[in-house]
Assembly symmetry: C2
Homo-oligomer: 346 residues x 2
């Protein structure tokens, strides 16, 4: 496979059926383009202007409780609404249908200055348990057939508030990304009577090249088909179809590996590493989905430094996603980072 380290090639994503163009030689390109503002840690544990801090009043007049643990509420400016007249519309080549759902905000901590990597494992475990609770609550509602848990971290990822928080968008229809992943996992399940992601994990554990972190219940790795420069995935060793199936120990170990992975991320460019992270899991429409193997993915945009990101533009929008470093180079770089957060070492 020597050839692939230096030469342009495409890699196949076994979960979506899509390809990514890898151009390892391209890192030599000088960068004269846009420089981002490097992300900094907030210094204040409370910000009176922040609409997510405890006891503050939000834009719509509601007052946050003096919460001590992770806290969730319905998004004041939700992209999805619960009550929507049901319409299925076709007129010639125009096709649309109504969509309903619920958008929630999940504050990870009352402390404005924290982020996942600098929170305690116990505190992150509380977040994982709130995700579990929300998943169960939302998933059981009539008309909620999929629950998307995610976090946009950093201004460069469209996050408008540094207070540590994520979101949940739960909706009637099954999103496109989920349909693709259901299809591929089902195909494999029916042929091999085992989990696609489980089989992939076994292969990666044998090869070791792209493995980043392991604990008793989870493995973090750079997927072979990674698109974003430092894209990673956290996979539970046991095939659980959604987050609600995690035991208390597994919830703790999930929190532990999230802390380790995000710490390594921050250490890569000595910055609060921006990303979008999301949990992909089985729909909640009542189907059995025994093929589904839940996982969490991180899509971070930084490429060369805390100020130079990868742009998914032109070619990437019109043809195929493209990356400049190989998954193996990225894995090597992330893996070699300390488990100690750079700010505590400084």
């Amino acid at each position: 496979m020597q050839d692939f380290n230096d030469n342009p090639h495409k890699r196949y994503n076994i979960l979506t059926g899509e390809w990514v163009l890898v151009s390892p030689h391209r890192t030599k390109r000088p960068w004269q383009g846009k420089n981002e503002e490097p992300a900094k840690f907030s210094q204040e544990s409370y910000d009176s202007e922040c609409y997510l801090c405890p006891t503050n009043t939000r834009a719509n007049g509601e007052v946050n409780p003096d919460y001590k643990k992770p806290y969730s509420f319905t998004n004041d400016f939700a992209a999805l609404l619960k009550e929507v007249p049901e319409v299925d519309f076709t007129d010639g080549l125009l096709k649309a249908k109504s969509e309903s759902g619920i958008c929630k905000v999940i504050c990870f901590s009352p402390n404005h200055a924290l982020t996942l990597p600098v929170m305690k494992v116990e505190e992150i475990t509380d977040v994982v348990q709130l995700w579990q609770k929300e998943f169960l609550l939302l998933g059981e509602l009539e008309g909620i057939n999929y629950v998307q848990i995610f976090e946009n971290k950093g201004a460069v990822m469209g996050c408008s508030n540094p207070h540590p928080h994520g979101q949940i968008w739960a909706q009637r229809s099954i999103p496109g990304e989920i349909s693709k992943k259901t299809e591929r996992q089902k195909e494999f399940w029916q042929t091999h009577k085992k989990s696609l992601l489980g089989a992939y994990l076994d292969q990666e554990l044998a090869l070791k090249e792209r493995i980043l972190i392991e604990n008793d219940d989870f493995v973090a790795l750079v997927p072979y088909w990674a698109v974003w420069p430092y894209e990673t995935m956290i996979i539970p060793r046991r095939k659980v179809k959604d987050i609600s199936e995690l035991t208390t120990t597994e919830a703790y170990n999930f929190a532990e590996i999230i802390k380790k992975l995000t710490t390594k991320y921050d250490n890569v460019f000595k910055t609060s590493f921006p990303y979008s992270a999301g949990i992909h899991q089985a729909p909640t429409d009542g189907g059995s989905y025994e093929e589904w193997h839940m996982h969490m993915s991180f899509y971070p945009p930084l490429l060369r430094s805390s100020t130079v990101k990868k742009f998914m533009v032109g070619y990437e929008m019109f043809a195929d996603p493209q990356r400049d470093i190989t998954a193996e180079q990225a894995a090597q770089k992330i893996r070699s980072q300390s488990d100690e957060h750079y700010t505590t070492v400084l």
Copy 2:
């Protein structure tokens, strides 16, 4: 369809088979997030530091000729290379294959300070004719089966040099976006014996709601399934499968509608409007592709002003693309702009 103007819904893209979530009520959301640097026009027609200006030396030591018309050369830091050992690799669940191709840079004008909207129609016609020439040259090469013509405009779209230019990436494999569009167009062609995009254009011309600009040979519109806030499409009235089939008059009218559309774009927020634009057309692998109806799409990121863009992050990456204004609102806003560029009026 009144319901759809105020309520969340999904719309179907007839060319890719994908859905976009539309949340029209969401524009009321206050924005406390990232503000971009507004794009400015360069003031100098020649910049001695620019590697695209005539007579300047590029990073690799090559010297640009004193070109007077649009000028193309092979990208010095190409993501695709011509000579790549052919490898088809499968190992368990890892799957990769080599990719070869050619990347070119197309300077639109020797004048560093220009952009498409402020160039003369005749000058843009020269660009269209260079695209045609390159398409024919590259497409005829052994091992080049698809030719992607595109432009990244503006720093916010990853463009690293304000000199007016676009790119061409031509390659062996058929990109994912093209496969999807081939599939849908073929399906329609086989059932209805006519062009999918032609039929769609007829419907839009009858409805008029999303039409922006018309001339004898082309129509510019906001597609019903637009993802980016001000996404648009230029469609030739005649079904041509690729750019080489355009007559001299059509090339001129293509240039004319590009000028008008990009002028309106600049006028929307009184800024040099950033976007990625690309031409989708039939592969060059020797197939007949009679179903293919070439078109040019513009994906601009600005949402609310010259400094606030739409972020395609979290939900959009993990679930489905999402937009805050309807295609009809966007069409109304673009259409109502003057055909006179704001800088000439100021």
